[in-house]
Amino acid sequence: MKKNQDSIFDLSPKEEAVLTSVFYRERYGLEIIEAVKEASGGKIKLGFGSLYPTLHKLEEKGYLEARWGDETPEERGGARRRYYRITGLGVKVLAQKKQFLDDLAGWEPAWGGV
């Protein structure tokens, strides 16, 4: 139970960005890098060196699941793509984090101010 409560603090900003990038549709590694870069206006650049460990950690925590694509594009040398999508647990953790941030922003002291 404690693990579940702490899980929102368990997400690093990088993990949160990767998890959010696959919220509405499944994406593969290179597409996630592009999505994060484009959505942040080029301010956040995920490298290959940090992407795969992040995906691995999220998969291990059960927030992501992966499947191999069927297509074998020529520009990939015939290699298949590995698509990632968010799991129910991942959606729950993101929602919990958003709720926490909203609650935190709107929190007011019961005694009327510090």
Partner: protein, 223 residues
């Protein structure tokens, strides 16, 4: 061309050997200096650290060096079917990994816990790094003489040797797709190659991270 001539190939082998020897020299010198400092300042903490961690690390380092040499010998003594070459290559890769991990631990211990004078360390140990830098620059200059396409193919082949097979399809596939994307965007070839090189190094980092993470979690589970 550098690799297409017999002399060039030998030069490449020679430079690579000097590079590997300089890494080994760098690590062994750091290790010897650490041991000297360990016994010249015999405090309880130093002795315990030495018995529990430093000496076992030294043992692993030397065992890995022997295993590296044996791996190299097994590769050379392959009779043509590739079986011995594969075994030797696997052994060599594992040995290099063990040398790098224990070597880094020893070098970090030297300058942090054992208070090895940094100036002396710099003189004896880090001077080997200059040799390594020189060798790397020579190999890089050699690579520049190879046609662009061959250089890319050679780099991918090198990554295939380094990365384990279960990651190759996804990681190298993404790398190749990025390479073709950059070419389509009309980015100059030298820049494409430079980005690909950095990305490839990122993949090696990813692999090392995963390896270290697995090692640490196994160790924590046992503890």
């Amino acid at each position: 061309m550098f690799f297409n001539q017999e002399r060039g190939q030998w030069l490449f082998k020679l430079i690579t050997s000097i590079g590997i020897i300089s890494i080994i020299g760098f690590i062994i010198t750091g290790n010897v200096l650490g041991i000297v400092c360990l016994f010249s300042n015999p405090t309880l903490a130093n002795t315990l650290f030495g018995i529990a961690l430093f000496c076992p690390a030294t043992f692993i380092l030397f065992a890995s060096l022997f295993s590296l040499i044996y791996g190299g010998y097994t590769m050379i003594s392959d009779n043509g079917d590739g079986r011995k070459f594969g075994q030797g290559l696997l052994l060599t890769k594992k040995s290099i990994m063990a040398i790098l991990i224990t070597g880094t631990f020893i070098l970090l211990s030297d300058v942090t816990l054992l208070n090895v004078p940094f100036g002396r360390h710099l003189l004896f140990s880090y001077s080997f790094l200059l040799l390594l830098l020189f060798c790397s620059s020579q190999v890089y200059i050699g690579w520049l003489a190879i046609p662009e396409e061959d250089r890319y193919a050679r780099f991918i082949a090198l990554l295939k040797e380094i990365l384990p097979i279960q990651f190759q399809e996804e990681w190298l596939g993404d790398l190749q797709e990025k390479y073709h994307q950059l070419i389509k965007e009309g980015i100059p070839r030298w820049k494409v190659y430079f980005i690909t090189l950095l990305t490839g190094l990122g993949l090696i980092l990813s692999y090392l991270w995963l390896k270290a993470d697995k090692f640490v979690s196994r160790w924590m589970t046992r503890a």
